[in-house]
Symmetry: C2
Subunit: 290 residues, 2 copies
């Protein structure tokens, strides 16, 4: 029945010669209890002012990069089987975009939280069997060593275990990066705090560019307006806050186009000053932009 | 190739038991010369402030209504063969939504401009062969009589001719309405000015409702912020302006959810006060809302 089939969330955007395709992975139910740095009352008021549910839903996207002379690249993989049933839709979205998992040459991993890397693995096997994984060295050092798992508090151990599980099938083909160009026209931008090796990726083609700023913002109705607000998932909340404030100021000043993992689909737009804070202005949705 | 296939613009939204599916028809290149009521400079500044191109693109959507115990209903039909090649995508979007043209029981026509009714006809035949057309009586009286065509200035005659052409295959099954309930749970709301019989449709299901306000706003970056701004297509610009100002004030006061023919896809959200004017806040995109 038309009404029961889920329509995929797939939208292409052009960045010069490069096509950035946003692949919606779904959403999970969040909570105002996740918010740090501001009061729950203030966070709730911002949700209401943004016409969003009191207890926020958290959206999730992964990204596909294609273009002339390039093999397809993923940025993150979605939650895969690690998340709730409302998620794990990246493979279906990728199929709509016309790209087979075997064709993915590289997966650029922004960070090792399960909603970003859970989709790398299916039944213990590589979901992208021909892909190299590119990961910041600080991220690998934080999540992957045996000593890190051993030292993690019990409540955090599943995150460490999931990171190991997701990357295990790729053990022989993980390339560590430490910022700078990771593929032609694609530069890793270290945005630490949310996790130690949390990275965005800047895509440049001709005179066009776009920054996939990934988890700088998790809850758009709250954190653009009030960048003090963080989330409980931040490994270092103070550093994440400082990173967010600095990058939002830069983005609003220079008008850089961005995409975000947790921005509302189709998740591409520009940051604008709005009073003491900021506002995200989505790009115009045009079907045949790419 | 993945990059050359146009991905359809189809998004479902729930209004209680009723599913409103937005069907993107495409876009056409507009111009600041279209703007009435404010200066071209002011209009251009609003486009820039909204991160939109200086010369505005005009987006277009039609709408599908489905639900338990209902036969599918369309609101408008898109531009069909009357428009440029960047338009006419409603049939493809409808196919993605899983509804055959033969299944459409009713087409609620908001008004007789070609971008709203051009898709009713294909090669002189009814595109929706089993559909009844529902149209405001003032709209029928303005566009369809022979005397109206004869009296129209030469420059306007094609609009009259196109209206007659689009409705001709349905001659025996046009139902005129004059406001009020047109189908169970669906009420015509007369919003005159843009055209004499221009109508929105209010959809009510249980305690949920949504107003398809259609052509109250053509250029979102300009007309929400500055409701004085009209478009050259308005048959009665002063009346259209008064209608727009009144309905926007109501919508911002009561938080009514709206959909619009020329709002940016996926075209559903809420009107909020913003300084002296208004702002449109899109609803949260959730893949499986319906």
């Amino acid at each position: 029945m038309a009404d029961t089939k889920i329509l995929p969330g797939v939208k292409r955007w052009s960045v010069g010669d490069i096509t950035l395709t946003v692949l919606n992975d779904g959403w999970f139910q969040g909570s105002l209890d996740l918010i740090t740095g501001i009061s729950k009352d203030e966070a709730g008021a911002l949700q209401r002012a943004g016409f969003r549910t009191q207890e926020p839903r958290v959206m999730l996207n992964a990204f596909l990069l294609t273009g002339p002379g390039r093999k397809p690249v993923l940025i993150d993989s979605g939650y895969g089987s690690f998340g709730p049933p409302t998620m794990g839709r990246v493979p279906a979205a990728l199929a709509v975009a016309g790209v087979a998992p075997e064709a993915i040459e590289t997966v650029l991993v922004t960070h090792c939280h399960p909603d970003h890397i859970g989709g790398l693995v299916v039944d213990g096997k590589a979901a992208y069997p021909n892909a190299e994984i590119v990961l910041h060295s600080d991220e690998a050092a934080y999540w992957l060593p045996d000593a890190a798992l051993a030292a993690a508090p019990d409540g955090a151990k599943p995150y460490f275990e999931n990171a190991r599980k997701a990357l295990a099938p790729y053990a022989a083909r993980v390339r560590e990066q430490s910022g700078g160009e990771v593929l032609p026209g694609i530069t890793a931008v270290h945005l630490p705090g949310h996790t130690p090796g949390h990275c965005g990726f800047r895509i440049v083609s001709g005179d066009k560019s776009l920054l996939v700023f990934t988890d700088v913002v998790h809850l758009p109705a709250i954190q653009f307006k009030q960048p003090e607000a963080g989330v409980g998932f931040d490994v270092d909340g103070d550093q994440a806050r400082a990173t967010r404030k600095a990058i939002l100021a830069d983005l609003a000043a220079d008008g850089t186009r961005i995409a975000g993992s947790h921005l509302e689909f189709p998740a591409v737009g520009t940051v604008s000053r709005d009073g003491d804070g900021y506002r995200f202005v989505p790009d115009l949705w045009v079907a045949d932009e790419a």
